[in-house]
């Protein structure tokens, strides 16, 4: 073995913040349960993460002690609820380094966030007074990639149908990365918006966006990044990312279901027409017409998921307490371990990057010709919970020539012992089907 001297002042592995996984696991009540007579081995966090007691307590406490509607009451409970709701918004703004708290729009999930942007384009294209950046018609183009979740495909297909715009996509390489070779022909002066996944929910790829962002700026288009899989796992800084919109969802980052976030540049949100009409999103209403509130209220019609937003704030506190750099490093180590461990399984083929670089802790694979449903069923009988199927990313399955994949995904509470349980379970699968 050769030795290497790290020069003074250079960052070293020891500088990376760490946390005690056993202590973290003790925060998650569900991790104590059994499944089919075995200790739960939860490897489906890309689907939804578990929630720590700190989040569950805040959710219950809000309903038990502070329940009232927000932004419309002068009474004490209403004030407490509003402060908690807006406080959560501020926490989330800090978490992603948003320049202004008003750039954080609460929505139901990432799917809704993307649809809000797509329908804002749609609505702006209807009248003559729509902001030109959001106006779409025949000849205009929308660019996505072949790596997208259906939530970042279907809204754009529908938008293209409504407006006559054309949908184009960046292909995926055999290694599971974006093929940027044709970028300059794909993203052109005709492009109005580029909407890309930051980290793939199926291949685990973390896309390097700098070159794409540069091209998007060059042609004057807008850039949306689907950060559903990255915000829970990596430190995200919207200023650093230099996107125009990012979307993410609470339930994948230790928060509750029913709450997600659309972050947009302040001046862009201000230029967007409303999508949902109703209470809370107005400035004034007459029987003849209405005018609308400034963002974020403009996009939050009706009573929002208040307790869920407050609990998402608690989730952000929890993640910040652990330090997102520590979460990222923990998962990097797990991914390296898992890639090595899975490589020992005969007949196993990994889809996506096979090195722990530019990828996160979500690994999809095939086990010989055994159908993923059968793989998942045998693993479940051993308490190992993985996702099987097309992962709402059918074009990726088609790209790699399979109808479905088996996916193991990790989070801050995942241990190497659980990866061993997966590998052991795959041996059992082969016994049943070979």
């Amino acid at each position: 073995m050769s030795s290497l001297t790290i020069p003074a002042g250079m960052p070293q592995f020891d500088d990376v913040p760490r946390f005690d996984v056993a202590a973290v696991r003790a925060d998650f009540p569900i991790l104590d349960r059994e499944v089919n007579g075995h200790r739960l081995v939860y490897l489906d966090s890309a689907n939804t993460s578990h929630k720590p007691r700190q989040v569950l307590d805040v959710l219950a406490e809000h309903y038990a002690m502070h329940n009232a509607n927000v932004s419309r009451s002068v009474h004490t409970l209403g004030t407490e609820a509003t402060e908690a709701y807006e406080g959560a918004r501020a926490k989330i703004a800090r978490f992603v380094n948003a320049p202004s708290v008003d750039e954080v729009v609460f929505v139901k999930n990432s799917t809704e966030a993307i649809n809000v942007v797509a329908y804002a384009f749609s609505n702006a294209s209807l009248g003559a007074d729509g902001d030109p950046r959001f106006r779409l018609g025949p000849g205009d183009e929308i660019v996505i990639s072949e790596m997208e979740h259906h939530s970042n495909i279907v809204p754009w297909q529908l938008l293209a149908e409504r407006t006559g715009a054309t949908l184009r996509w960046i292909p995926v390489t055999d290694a599971g990365r974006l093929d940027e070779s044709g970028l300059d022909d794909l993203v052109t002066e005709r492009t109005k918006i580029v909407s890309l996944v930051h980290m793939s929910n199926i291949l685990g790829t973390v896309n390097a966006t700098a070159r794409i962002t540069a091209r998007v700026r060059e042609v004057g288009a807008l850039l949306l990044l689907d950060c559903s899989q990255s915000v829970p796992h990596l430190p995200i800084d919207v200023v650093d990312l230099d996107a125009d919109f990012i979307v993410f969802t609470g339930h994948k980052m230790c928060g509750p279901t029913g709450i997600g976030v659309l972050w947009g540049r302040g001046e862009l949100l201000a230029a967007m027409p409303p999508v949902f009409g109703g209470g809370s999103m107005i400035e004034t209403v007459t029987m003849a017409r209405s005018t609308f509130a400034a963002p974020p209220a403009r996009f939050e019609a009706g009573t929002p998921p208040i307790a869920e937003a407050v609990a998402l704030g608690a989730a952000v506190d929890y993640l910040t307490g652990l330090d997102m750099r520590a979460v990222q490093w923990h998962e990097k180590e797990l991914t390296a371990y898992a890639l090595d461990a899975l490589a020992t399984v005969p007949g196993l083929r990994i889809f996506g990057p096979t090195v722990p670089v530019g990828r996160g802790g979500t690994i999809s694979f095939a086990l010989g010709d055994i159908h993923p449903h059968d793989v998942g069923q045998v693993l479940d009988s051993l308490g190992v919970q993985v996702r099987v199927g097309h992962h709402c990313a059918k074009p990726v399955c088609t790209r790699f020539g399979v109808p479905a994949m088996t996916r193991a995904s990790f989070y801050l509470y995942t241990t190497t012992g659980e990866i061993d349980a997966l590998v052991g379970g795959l041996e059992q699968v082969r016994k049943v089907f070979d």
């Binding site: 449903h373 059968d374 069923q377 009988s381 099987v388 199927g389 399955c397 109808p403 049943v432 089907f433």
Partner: protein
């Protein structure tokens, strides 16, 4: 082990050595031939079932598909059980199979009617897999309707 109830030997046998797999033309050119392609959108499993019939007897049931052991074994069992049967008989078996799969494990199957299909009794206890087992049977039902032979009562899966 619980898993044995789901993956009975009969099912694994049909999966590993499927009977009558592959789409075929009718032997008798006078037969009506029709097929249906069904997809399970949650998992991407696909099956195409083709029937050749003179309107009274199902002379052939051929199929092709890709999917899990349950859906593919189910197609093999369907072929074996219903090929060469009268239309009325075949629909009675179809109905019994659908009833078994919809029974959440509470229905006792009749081996005289269902043959190897009884092996799917355990599948009925796994709600997530019932659709896998029913996929070829629903395609079969569509295919027979397209071939213009009687339609069995509406089923709820």
């Amino acid at each position: 082990m619980q898993l044995d109830q789901l993956y009975q030997e009969i099912i694994l046998d049909h999966y590993k050595r499927p009977h009558g797999r592959g789409l075929r033309d009718a032997d008798d050119p006078a037969d009506r031939v029709a097929e249906a392609h069904h997809v399970n959108p949650t998992c991407g499993d696909e099956v195409t079932v083709r029937v050749a019939t003179d309107g009274t007897v199902l002379h052939d049931i051929s199929y092709d598909g890709m999917g899990c052991s349950i859906s593919q074994a189910s197609a093999s069992v369907l072929h074996e059980l219903l090929r060469g049967r009268g239309v009325g008989e075949a629909f009675a078996v179809h109905e019994a199979f659908v009833e078994l799969m919809s029974g959440r494990g509470q229905v006792t199957p009749d081996e005289d009617v269902l043959g190897d299909g009884v092996a799917f009794a355990g599948v009925a206890r796994y709600p997530a897999r019932v659709k896998c087992a029913l996929l070829p049977w629903m395609a079969f039902k569509d295919a027979t309707a397209r071939a213009g032979v009687g339609v069995s009562p509406e089923v709820k899966a």
